[in-house]
């Protein structure tokens, strides 16, 4: 079983009120030197069977139609190797 990660971020030109709120809070809490914060979403999909091109195409489809609102969001799809999964479990 392999894990595929879909990261969804607001497009760069879209206003991100949540990110801004985080950024404004940082100096108040004593964390200096951060000039911008953008907040996104990360989906971890556990895939049955091999992660081949067909599977990735399917995931791309579901990300495009369901996980991301492509009117305002971009997304990336990447495979986390099985080793990495094992690493994470440890």
């Amino acid at each position: 079983m392999a894990r595929v990660v879909v990261d969804v971020m607001l497009k760069p030109e879209i206003l991100d009120p949540q990110g801004q709120a985080v950024q404004r809070a940082l100096p108040r809490l004593g964390f200096e030197g951060i000039s911008d914060v953008r907040q996104g979403k990360r989906f971890e999909l556990e895939v049955d069977g091999p992660v081949d091109d067909a599977a990735l195409a399917r995931i791309h489809d579901l990300a495009e139609s369901f996980l991301a609102n492509t009117v305002i969001e971009d997304f990336t799809v990447r495979v986390e190797s099985e080793d990495a999964v094992a690493e994470a479990v440890k």
């Binding site: 030109e13 879209i14 009120p17 009117v71």
Partner: protein, 752 residues
């Protein structure tokens, strides 16, 4: 992005042959030539950006202007009117030193592209119009139209729109007190998301959008400017979606209600300290609109340094900064000695504020970027002297056939059983069903001044705690009626909103409208528009309720198919003491039910014809505005003198719809008797205008009848409030439980 060399005014004069993308920005060839003629040279890129957005349909009203003039020409004399058409919103005197400002606007296209943000920023935009007049926003309303209730895309658009309205309004702490939800296949792909807002102020607090006084500073405050909605005004409002290639889709504006809340408080505090000479909110066309309108409404001169505009994205070009529609921004004109205090207040509210320019002696709007002058125009030519089109219009060929297809000839129920089935079908149909699943997602009562909210006939807000002074607002529009006859349809929308306000006990004072139509380039659509405006202006004159402002939304069509002409009319009323309001719900068993007005066989465009026969044809109900006025006077008097305990206006769905709603809301049934001279079907389903049903306590029966008799309003006793069923004697009886299941189950069933 480095642009070499900068397209300054000087550069433009020296390079007359440079080709500019005027067509891509939505300008027609003759419009571009007019710009060149005005300037005596080719425009700079920045000037072109400004002209193109300000001369778009959305900002310039170029197709509608010639017709909209009637609202001024035919405006009735009204002592209540303090500020009329042309400002951010109209202002009406409601007595006791209070003034109320209200307006309805559309945010149709953005809400189709991105339902949540489109609807949310629609609320944000209309609320800023209210703040810009100097008023504190107190309530919002949302007239909505969607495609067929069971269409899959409706399930995408509606929940997003409703969540966006709720999310933004609830975060701002504004109660949502009214509006409508209508489904019709004609809105598939072109949903109508109209948003209205009401604000309250003292007379002396009225502020206007003008920049006068040379040396006064121009302050931009609120959110930073980003790439939001660039070209939205010209591209979204000027073309149909079919033409909009993905690359031309502007970045969706995202709203931040918490920023807007700060903007409200900060602006009102600055007003209170009398720091503001003129003010304008930034909506469509952003800074282009704010600077050119402020300047042209004042003495005309203004100098702006664009480098000083706080940016969210440092790569924006000056053209983009001028066109950006980033939300939650306002522009104020402040005397130099008051600037420090103004900035202090902004800082207190955590609102970024920057002096970006000043008012000058001349009559030119000059904008600088990196030291070069990139705009040098007469602001009036940008803001007010846009193109005006006398678009050809013609009554469509199909209109006669449509009107000849008489709904009165449709097969009617043949038996009591059939009649009963059709009643159940009607009250459970998507358009007639309870919308509480939707409206409950909005906060109705925040701030604690809401007296009435949906599903009452009008929303009502208390303005003064001591005296009980309040205002009421109702919005109505029936696209089916307007399709059959746009002139009458617009008057019916006005009549219904007027009646709704009066039914709750408030006196109608003024009108705002949101006119939603298809493409003005289609003569048939233009005819619908012209007729609707003529009807509305004539109606307002007759009822004595002036139009104080509003909005036109054109190009609501996909391909050849335009939406039904949909003039949405908002009527604002005033009530001396909100404790005297009249609710819809039946209050007490034994009270007598009276039908006010005349019932005729009028089924054209009716809910019955839609639900039972899926039919649209014939003529809409007749309008008699004198009758509406009389009915209104009776309802207001009866409410003030305590002669009626509940009242409900009759509109789509007819009497049976009104009685079922009053019964379900009150948890009490009714026994009805078909009056002499009417058959049961006409009695229940006719949509004759100028009618209401009222519940009169027995002790008031004589007094109420005498009043109606003396004023000449037909009144018919039709039954009594009683029991657990709605019964029509000799025909059928339906339990409240069955009615409730039909009426309240439909919308959750479709959307939940």
């Amino acid at each position: 992005m480095s642009r070499t060399p900068l397209d300054t005014v000087e550069h433009a004069a020296a390079t007359p042959d440079v080709e500019l993308p005027w067509a891509e920005l939505g300008l027609k060839k003759d419009e571009y030539e007019r710009v060149v003629e005005i300037l005596g040279r080719r425009p700079t890129g920045a000037e072109l950006a400004m002209y193109s957005v300000m001369w778009s349909e959305h900002c310039s009203y170029k197709s509608s202007k010639v017709h909209l003039r009637q609202f001024g020409e035919k405006a009735p004399r009204s002592d209540a009117m303090l500020v009329g058409i042309g400002e951010n919103a109209g202002v009406v005197d409601v007595g006791q030193g209070y003034a109320v400002t209200f307006k309805v606007e559309s945010h149709n296209h953005p809400s189709y592209v991105e339902p949540y943000q489109g609807a949310a920023t629609g609320v944000g935009g209309i609320v800023r119009d209210i703040i810009a007049m100097g008023a504190r926003p107190v309530a919002v309303v949302d007239p909505l139209r969607f495609g067929a209730a069971d269409h899959p895309d409706t399930k995408r658009v509606l929940p997003g729109v409703v969540a966006g309205i709720g999310g933004y309004g609830n975060c701002l702490g504004l109660p949502n007190i009214g509006g409508e939800v209508v489904f019709d296949a004609c809105y598939q792909g072109n949903p109508l998301v109209n948003a209205g807002a009401i604000g309250v102020m003292r007379h002396e607090d009225i502020h206007l959008a003008k920049a006068s006084g040379a040396g006064n500073k121009v302050i931009l405050y609120g959110a930073r400017t980003g790439g939001d909605g660039i070209g939205g005004a010209s591209i979204l409002a000027s073309e149909t979606f079919d033409d909009a290639k993905p690359s031309k889709r502007p970045a969706v504006q995202v709203g931040d209600p918490f920023q807007e809340k700060l903007l409200i408080e900060c602006t009102l505090e600055a007003f209170q300290e009398k720091l503001v000479v003129g003010i304008q909110d930034l909506g469509a066309a952003g800074l282009s609109c704010a600077t050119s309108e402020l300047a042209s409404n004042g003495s005309g001169g203004m100098r702006v340094t664009l480098d000083d505009v706080p940016l969210r994205d440092s790569t924006l070009s000056p053209e983009e900064i001028l066109m950006s529609e980033s939300q939650e921004r306002m522009c104020a004109v402040v005397e130099p000695e008051k600037v420090d205090r103004f900035l202090e207040i902004c800082e207190k509210w955590d609102v970024i504020a920057t002096v970006i320019g000043e008012v000058t002696d001349g009559d030119r709007l000059e904008i600088f970027w990196h030291g070069g002058k990139i705009v040098d125009v007469d602001p009036r030519t940008v803001a007010h002297d846009g193109p005006v089109y006398e678009r050809p219009y013609a009554r469509p060929e199909w209109q006669d056939a449509l009107q000849a297809d008489d709904a009165n000839k449709l097969p009617r129920p043949q038996s009591s059983g059939e009649l009963k089935d059709q009643v159940l079908k009607l009250v459970g149909s998507p358009n007639q069903a309870s919308k509480q699943w939707i409206t409950q997602q909005y906060d109705h009562f925040v701030q604690g001044n809401t007296v009435l909210a949906q599903p009452e006939d009008s929303g009502m807000i208390r303005v003064d705690e001591e005296s009980g002074l309040g205002v009421a607002i109702a919005t109505d529009g029936n696209g089916r009626y307007a399709k059959l006859d746009p002139y009458t349809g617009a008057q019916l929308a006005l009549a219904e909103a007027y009646r709704n306000v009066a039914t709750t006990g408030a006196k109608p004072l003024a009108v705002s409208d949101c006119l939603n139509f298809g493409s003005p380039e289609d003569p048939a659509v233009m005819w619908q528009f012209a007729e609707a405006v003529r009807g509305l202006a004539d109606g307002c004159l007759q009822l004595g309720t002036p139009v104080t402002g509003g909005n036109v939304s054109l190009y609501n069509q996909t391909g050849e198919a335009a939406i039904h002409p949909t003039p949405v009319v908002a009527v604002l009323g005033v009530i001396d003491d909100v404790a005297r309001r009249t609710p819809v719900a039946f209050q007490e068993d034994g009270q007598l039910l009276y039908l006010l007005g005349d019932t005729r066989e009028e089924f054209g465009g009716s809910a019955w014809s839609q639900v039972v026969h899926d039919h649209l044809g014939g003529l809409p109900p007749k309008v008699d505005l004198e009758r509406e006025r009389l009915l209104g006077e009776i309802l207001i008097s009866a409410s003030r003198d305590g002669m009626i305990d509940s009242a409900h206006d009759l509109s789509d769905g007819g009497l049976v719809q009104a009685v079922v709603e009053s019964a379900l809301l009150g948890g009490r049934g009714a026994r009805l008797v078909v009056p002499d001279g009417l058959d049961a079907f006409t009695f229940l389903f006719s949509e004759s205008a100028g009618r209401a049903v009222v519940a009169v306590p027995r002790s008031e029966e004589v007094r109420f009848n005498d009043m109606c008799g003396a004023r000449g309003l037909p009144v018919t006793r039709i039954g009594v409030v009683d029991g657990e069923t709605v019964e029509v004697q000799g025909e059928f009886s339906l339990s409240l439980t069955d009615l409730r299941e039909a009426h309240e189950g439909t919308i959750p069933g479709l959307l939940a």
